[in-house]
């Protein structure tokens, strides 16, 4: 059995976990993050991608609203390349409750969220698809955030400060001696090897899986798993985030991302942390709700549906975490105080928008335990440095401005080597993925990352397969690179099948119209032109 020693083990490679890893590393505390899948495979990539202004919470949760607006400003500053500063609108429809409108305006004012009313005529001019039932429109500093980019940027920054992480490494048990944490036992899911990791502190940041982790200490954390389903449209229907101005509910938010728009969200309690299959009735419901904000929603093509699990924390005792500077929005559970287990802390609940704040609170707690006095700097220090202007210019010259900008945002400081490769061998500048404009050189670069174990990991890193064709062409085009990386023809075929099946899960709930035709085209390509055997593929 392999043995590793560190100061802190962080369980969970979502936004909160990587935020903690970065904060710990910046304060000089040795830490290892363990993730059972790929980074961001859970809730952090399965949401609408909204960077909250806090306006959505202005009425029901003043504290959360205030945290959101503060973090909104910070994240826009430290992670500019992951953010599109679209702004957001709150749209009050003719039928909506005027009482709520007043409460909302007061709430925003109290939380310090700037609100500007947009004259209706201008609103319809700026967002032509907006429902003509709109009566008043208010602008707030909402923005959109790319969860994948944000996570990778945190990890890369943490690595620079000495932080380490392992993906596909699943915690099997907590290593406890007389209720003292000594570390964890984990399994490397790729090799099957069991690893013993000695640490002073274990941070449970496993999101929907955190109840399972806490239970390994013999104590329960009361978590609710709430499934939120979302739809992806293949057009940018709106240029701003569009919210409905009423008590936040289902299907009342449109979030534009690059060339697509996400409509969210539903809310349904589930039992399993990975129950993320969307049902057709969820889709119907979302479309019905979405019609209130966009009357002609049915004319638009739905690319796919997906769902994430919100890890909601319900405290058994409201006084339990009062006075610790933690809002109702998220909670830090000190298992020594609560259960007598020393060295274990759980961070539960929360929002992606406040991931940094949650990380700061946890790291403060850890630092106090380890007598480290270094202050938190994550609110000031950007996640990465801007690549130099000459790299940008070179990239634009070689692959065109639109593709270059997308690539630079994905790669940042790593872009220089990819640009150099294209300059040397122009054919490497050809697009593997024409929807997301991912070049061959970028795919080759991503495949060199030791954390890329599959085509599906590659998808998360490069956005290959996330566009309109949903993997049909780009999967095929990555064939030679996959074979070089993964070794055999059988393995390459298996990677094809896994990726296309994963994409298929999101397509089946919206299988009509052009997406259905696209699916027939994909079947024609793989089963006929490339002669994949239908029977063999049934695993």
């Amino acid at each position: 059995m392999r043995e590793i020693e560190t100061q802190v083990v962080v369980i969970g490679g979502g936004a909160t976990g990587v935020g903690i890893l970065r904060d710990l590393s910046m304060r000089g505390i040795p830490a290892l993050l363990l993730e059972q899948g790929d980074l961001a495979h859970g809730t952090s990539s399965r949401f609408h991608g909204l960077l909250h202004s806090g306006a959505r919470y202005a009425v029901k949760d003043a504290k959360a609203a205030q945290e959101c607006i503060e973090e909104n400003k910070i994240v826009k500053h430290i992670a500019a390349h992951c953010i599109e500063d679209t702004s957001g609108w709150f749209v009050y429809l003719n039928e909506d409750d005027p009482g709520y409108l007043q409460l909302w305006l007061q709430g925003c004012d109290q939380a310090g969220i700037p609100v500007k009313e947009i004259p209706l005529e201008e609103a319809f001019r700026l967002e032509p698809l907006l429902s003509r039932q709109a009566a008043r429109v208010f602008e707030v500093p909402d923005a959109t955030v790319d969860g994948f980019k944000l996570l990778w940027a945190n990890v890369k920054s943490a690595e620079k400060y000495g932080g380490t992480y392992r993906t596909y490494c699943k915690v099997k048990s907590l290593w406890l001696e007389n209720k003292d944490i000594k570390g964890v036992y984990a399994e490397d899911l790729i090799t099957g090897e069991i690893i013993q990791i000695r640490s002073k502190i274990v941070v449970n940041a496993a999101g929907p899986w955190s109840a399972e982790i806490a239970a390994m200490s013999g104590f329960d954390v009361h978590m609710l798993k709430n499934k939120g389903s979302l739809l992806v449209f293949n057009q940018r229907m709106f240029n701003r985030v569009i919210n409905r101005l009423r008590t936040p509910g289902d299907g009342d938010i449109f979030v534009p991302h690059e060339t697509v728009t996400i409509l969210g969200t539903t809310s349904q309690m589930v039992d399993l942390p990975d129950d993320n299959q969307v049902k057709e009735q969820d889709v119907s419901y979302l479309l019905e709700m979405g019609k209130d904000l966009a009357e002609e929603i049915e004319l638009h093509r739905v690319l796919r549906a997906f769902a994430g699990i919100r890890p909601l924390y319900e405290s058994e005792d409201a006084s339990e975490h009062e006075g610790r500077g933690v809002s109702r929005n998220f909670a830090l559970i000190d298992h020594e105080k609560r259960d007598g287990v020393r060295g274990l802390v759980s961070i539960v609940g929360g929002k992606l928008t406040t991931y940094r704040l949650m990380a700061e609170k946890v790291t403060d707690w850890v630092a106090a335990k380890l007598n480290v006095t270094t202050a938190c700097r994550t609110a000031e220090e950007p996640l990465h440095h801007e690549p130099p202007a000459d790299v940008w210019n070179k990239a634009r010259q070689l692959i065109g401005a639109a593709a270059a900008d997308k690539m630079m945002e994905r790669l940042n400081e790593e872009a220089a080597s990819v640009i150099a490769a294209i300059e040397k061998q122009p054919e490497l500048g050809q697009f593997i993925c024409e929807c997301e404009m991912v070049t061959q050189a970028e795919v080759l670069h991503a495949l060199q990352d030791p954390a890329v174990h599959s085509l599906d990991d590659l998808r998360r890193k490069t956005r290959l397969g996330m566009g309109t064709c949903q993997g049909t062409y780009c999967t095929y085009r990555s064939t030679p690179m996959l074979k070089d990386t993964f070794g055999s023809w059988e393995r390459t075929l298996k990677e094809y099948r896994i990726l296309l099946s994963e994409r298929w899960r999101g397509i089946t709930p919206v299988l009509w119209g052009d997406q259905l035709r696209e699916s027939e085209l994909a079947r024609a390509l793989y089963l006929n032109v490339l002669d994949f055997k239908a029977v063999e593929s049934e695993e």
Binding site: E280, V283, S284, L287, E298, V302, I422, Q425, P426, E427, L428, G429, Q430, Y476, R477, T479, P480, K483, W489, R497, L500, S501, R503, W504, R505, T508, L511, W512, G513, L516, R517, S519, E520, L521, A522, R523, A524, L525, Y526, L527, N528, V529, L530, D531, F532, A534, E536, S537, E538, E539
Partner: protein
């Protein structure tokens, strides 16, 4: 007044139109676009005909063996380079794997795996979506007795594209190989290969050149005269990737065949609706004319028979609306068989939605899905518009389209 109007210019539509024209009928083909021939591998898949005929309601069950055979004869007469696969004959996919070829061009036929020899893969520089290393390793695995070598071929005309890293598609290269310069270049390359191999002492061994994007089947003496060069070594062509050069030239060839026979063609025209009167309550209706939108005009076109060949889901003849609240056939608003279960959870599994289509009697006339009665007396449904089959998992796309197209033409 035409003897028949064919709606749809895909494989089944062209087949019906040409066969009817061969029989001396006055035919019009109305087509919106080019159909899905641009995804044609170059091979007609027939699948397990005998087995599929026992599938309940499968289109093959509408035909006797003779009719299916007539379809094959039609293709072989139309394209003399096509041969029927009585033995186990195979062709290469673009990945270098080996696929079955039921009715395929002679030039695609692979040698026996038991034999020995040398394949020389000619790799056109910058050919898009073509992976020589993958092809070589797959061919080497499929043909253990054969050596696989690679030779790159560089077409001067694409020099500038190469310099800036722009790729050329299979269609670009096929056009080059059909030109005089391209033919000469290929001939030279192949002669060089021959000399090199003989110099290397492999005189006695069998040598075959393998080439993607060579389209040599659709030889039309009256128009495309250039093809016909003899090479000093046998050349095996690979089946097409998309967009398919085989599909492109096959479509062009079909068009020439059709118009040479006096067939009339209306491209960029969309058949939208029809008018027709029921003869009586009990009898099937008879269609008098269809309404066609073409170049901003609305035309009423009359014919004795109408053939619906609009290509199903992929071709666009069946429209499935949001949440599947509306599913309809676009021209005659025919009743459709719609499976209860819509999709299978595995992508590569047989998909229930693929079975959607029009149910017909043995004369390919549309049936009412409830009563089982013929709705239109003079409308015949062909190809992918037929219900109860899946061309991709049953591997019979070409077979059903050719057979039904031919059969419909025989009734006109």
């Amino acid at each position: 007044m035409w003897d028949a109007i064919v709606v749809g210019g895909g494989l089944a539509g062209w087949t019906a139109g040409i066969r009817a024209a061969q029989r001396g009928k006055k035919v019009l083909i109305v087509t919106e676009g080019v159909g899905t021939l641009y995804y044609f591998s170059g091979i007609f898949d027939y699948g397990d005909v005998a087995g599929l005929r026992h599938f309940p309601k499968h289109p093959y069950s509408l035909f006797d063996a003779e009719t299916i055979d007539r379809g094959k004869q039609f293709i072989k007469e139309l394209c003399p380079e096509y041969i029927e696969n009585n033995k186990s004959r195979h062709a290469l996919t673009v990945l270098g794997t080996v696929r079955q070829g039921d009715l395929m061009p002679r030039s695609m036929v692979l040698p026996d795996r038991q034999e020995q020899g040398i394949f020389v893969l000619l790799v056109p520089e910058g050919l898009k979506d073509f992976f020589p290393e993958i092809v070589v390793s797959n061919m080497a695995r499929e043909f253990p007795g054969w050596q696989v070598k690679v030779k790159r071929v560089h077409a001067e005309i694409l020099g500038e594209w190469e310099r800036i890293g722009k790729s050329a598609s299979g269609i670009d290269y096929a056009a080059i190989w059909r030109s005089k310069e391209g033919q000469n270049l290929l001939a030279q390359e192949i002669e060089t290969i021959k000399r090199e191999q003989q110099g290397a002492g492999s005189k006695s061994e069998r040598i075959a050149v393998v080439l993607p994007s060579l389209v040599s089947e659709y030889f039309d003496a009256s128009r495309t005269k250039i093809y016909g060069k003899d090479y000093s070594l046998p050349v095996i062509e690979m089946s097409s990737f998309i967009p398919s050069p085989h599909g492109r030239y096959f479509a062009e060839y079909l068009k020439h065949q059709f118009t040479d026979l006096g067939g009339e063609l209306m491209i960029g025209a969309r058949a939208a609706a029809l008018t027709g009167e029921p003869v009586s309550d009990k009898q099937p209706k008879s269609c008098q004319e269809i309404i066609v939108h073409s170049m901003g005009k609305v035309l009423h076109l009359k014919a004795k028979k109408f053939i619906l060949a609009t290509g199903g889901l992929l071709g666009g003849g069946i429209k499935v609306g949001i949440e599947r609240k509306s599913i309809h056939e676009d021209v005659f608003d025919l009743p459709l068989f719609v499976p209860q279960e819509w999709s299978a959870s595995r992508f590569f599994a047989p998909q229930p939605f693929a079975q959607i289509g029009v149910e017909t009697d043995n004369c390919l006339r549309p049936l009412d899905t409830n009563q089982g009665q013929v709705i239109w007396d003079n409308v015949h449904v062909v190809g992918r518009m037929l219900a109860h089959w899946d061309p991709w998992t049953q591997r019979c796309g070409g077979g059903v389209s050719v057979t039904s197209g031919c059969a419909a033409a025989e009734i006109i």
